[in-house]
Amino acid sequence: MTCLTQTLANGLQIIAEVYPDAYTLGIGFFVRAGSRDEPDELAGVSHFLEHMAFKGTPNMSAAEVNLAFDRIGAAYNAVTSEDVTAYFAAVLPEYQDAACRLLAELMQPTLPPDEFAREKQVILEEIRMYLDEPPYGADDLCQAKFFAGHPLGRSVLGSQESVAGISADRMRDYHRRRYASNNMVLAAAGKVDFESLVRQAEVLCGDWESEDVDRVLHPLEPAFGSEVCVKPASSNEYIVQLSEGPSGHNAERYAARLLADVVGDDSGSRLFWEFIDTGRADSASLSYSSHEDAGVFALTLSCEADRCAANMKRLREIIRNLEDNGITEDELQRAKRKVCTSIVLASERPRNRLFNIGQRWLLYHSYQNVKERLEALEAVTVADVNRVIQRYPLSCHATVAAGPLATLE
């Protein structure tokens, strides 16, 4: 396996992890544009733009784009987060050129008015779909509360009101600034012909313009406290709790990842034994995610409403115990085995590797192969994890609950 990189004259970066023995390849454009880059009145524009990318380009109509991807048998999609919008396809090696050409088309959307109006309805349906699903928007509310004015507090989807107010002109302007050639990465993994990829990128993307584009990074000043949104028809109470973790630049992120597993993996973790094994809750988990300027631990718990008060008390005790006594060597070793196995299994598929490579290169300009990633996890000690517990206490959190209860106490 080899990692190859190249930067075009207009600043477009290309990175590929090449395995000659792979059967397929994953390829995608990663754009440094996400909900954190949006002004208030355009909340949701990054995600709406991601949809519009498929709705017409200088050379193709929306229907032609869908037909062309399906004709080469691509498994393709796009996804928007707070930090990145990614467009990707997994294909057989003979379709590398075709997939690259189609993905490059998507980067130049024309935003036809009829498609724009129709797709806005689709987005509004997507927002309503999530409002129907547990935790009924409590995750977005908690994010807004915890990040307290920090750009990472924005909902990726935006609100029904903000999306309704977005115009094609404002979207075009946002696209021109954020989809600049020096603000994106073309990444590939698997059986990649790198020379051909670079040649093709020069032809297809060489005349894209660069921009004086920036992202405002802020130190996180989180807000704590709790809030309840009453959802009378629900039978369970759904709780989301956010607390601070190390950022994506911080080497402590490996310890944070293992800590999340020790406390909140879906089997064998502290939350599992306390809540799932005993049947006290329907689900309980802790996950860790990182951004350029912040990291976050997300704890979720869902249980029958009348068990909620007792469960919240147990949760506080688990966290107190963790902060007083730390984790054990045995817990750390088991967490390492689980996390490393899942990384190895996932990396058998090139399309899974694509995301690690593209996103990390775009945001941090760094590359790590699977072996290096496993070594970094293996090197974590109990003392490292316990230091993360002290520096980023899970007991300092913002909480939002959705369900039948009027109060959590």
Binding site: V122, I123, M129, D132, P134, D277, P350
Partner: protein, 423 residues
């Protein structure tokens, strides 16, 4: 009997009826397994819906020399990624790990099959967990639509929710769990599939040592009663109306199975497929719309889903049903061509996942009594023609729709669809 085919698949049938299937994928570093035991929810007594799920949960609370905690921590120390699930026919355990840890992992799961501790003092915890699962379906209207559709469309016993009914689960006692285990956990009818990196002789011998002396027992018959098509609304205070539609198709072992999945691909394979194009792309009615092929022994089904804001739900239902009726007019060459490309990619991607392959081996054996190589599937897909698909559609036109709507108000089912249901 041992067979090893040229495409790297192996079969061994033990004298007690246990089937071992394996597919070598020497280019990977992992080994995956799936084991299906004939103890699924279809075997639940009529007043004990949920017994199979509760039994599965209890079997995983310690086995052989390991108690609940030791069982979990030993699997974690080996780095096994594992799951359990309950279907109508089977309780299914599956997992994947580094190839060198696999023999030990297999030993632990053999204990689950043969020597579960079924700890009496943990029954209440297991029951509470299952009751939480049942309850949580009610909180998601899309899940609720899917459960209610299954209840109305499939014949008994496949119509039951696998997680069971709350009242039944509350009434189950420990003796009933033990009885379900003793009656239905047996080697004849159990299928073990392995894929990835392994040594075939070593694997066959190890499975023989672990499970070869497991005693066979008589299978209990499953009673089936047919279901009538039905249109049903569940009143629910949701933002969207969640629409689920099912109609009958041919089963997995039917000679025209490939034509049947071809028709579903035309409806829902890729973003240029008919449902996505007509419901979402041309009209912007929804975010999510799709159709999938499902199979049970002796019957197949096409299940469709969409969710739309209440005011626009009627149009979504109308367009969705019209597309199902329009399918009777046949499919085009270009549609089939795109489908073939998608299948080709999908089949190659299967070769990248040991878990996908071990699961497919077990699934094929259960429903076909044999496994299919990726090459065989590719040849069948290549051999599909629009003529054959269109003849299939004349012989098996979409009709006899079961329709479930979960949302604030019921929708009207168009007259011609009701007529089609009768025709």
């Amino acid at each position: 009997m041992i067979t090893a085919s040229e495409d790297g698949t192996f079969l061994h049938r033990y004298s007690n009826g246990l089937i071992l299937l394996a597919e070598a994928m020497p280019w990977v570093e992992s080994t995956a397994f799936a084991v299906a035991v004939p103890a699924g929810s279809g075997r639940d007594p009529i007043d004990r819906s949920g017994l199979a799920s509760l039994t599965c949960e209890m079997c995983l609370r310690g086995a052989g020399e390991r108690d609940n905690r030791r069982f979990m921590s030993d699997l974690e120390s080996l780095g096994v990624n594992w799951h359990d699930s309950v279907g109508s026919d089977h309780i299914r355990l599956s997992g994947a790990c580094a190839a060198d840890a696999f023999p030990q992992a297999l030993g632990i799961f053999a204990d689950v099959l043969r020597r579960p501790r079924l700890p009496r003092d943990e029954l209440e915890n297991a029951r509470q967990g299952l009751l939480q699962d049942i309850l949580s379906v009610e909180d998601d209207p899309a899940d609720l639509a899917s459960r209610e559709l299954r209840r109305r469309f499939f014949p008994s016993p496949f119509h039951r929710p696998h997680e069971g009914e709350a009242d039944h689960v509350r009434a189950i006692n420990w003796e009933e769990v033990r009885e379900h285990y003793e009656k239905h956990f047996r080697p004849n009818g159990t299928i073990l599939g392995v894929a990835g990196k392994f040594d075939w002789n070593g694997l066959r011998d190890q499975v023989g040592e672990l499970l070869g002396d497991w005693s066979a027992s008589e299978p209990c018959p499953i009673a089936e009663t047919p279901q009538q098509p039905i249109i049903w609304h569940v009143d629910y205070p949701s933002q969207q109306t969640h629409i689920a539609v099912a109609y009958p198709s041919v089963p997995y072992d039917h000679p025209r199975y490939y034509e049947a999945v071809g028709t579903v691909g035309v409806l829902s394979g890729g973003m240029s497929a008919r449902l996505f194009t007509e419901v979402r792309e041309k009209r912007g009615l929804c975010y999510s719309v799709h159709a999938t092929y499902k199979t049970r022994p002796r019957m197949g089904a096409v299940i469709c889903y969409s969710g739309t804001t209440a005011e626009r739900a009627q149009e979504t239902l109308d367009v969705l049903l019209r597309e199902l009726i329009r399918l009777r007019e046949g499919v085009q060459d270009a549609e089939l061509e795109r489908l073939r490309s998608q299948y080709r990619t999908g089949l190659v991607m299967h070769q990248e996942s040991t878990s996908a392959r071990s699961g497919a081996l077990v699934h094929d054996w259960h429903l076909l009594g044999r496994t299919r190589s990726l090459r065989e599937i590719e040849e069948r897909i290549r051999g599909l023609t629009t003529t054959a698909i269109n003849q299939f559609l004349r012989d098996h036109p979409p009709r006899s729709f079961t329709i479930v709507m979960v949302g604030p108000k019921p929708l009207e089912v168009p007259r011609d669809v009701l007529d089609a249901n009768a025709s």
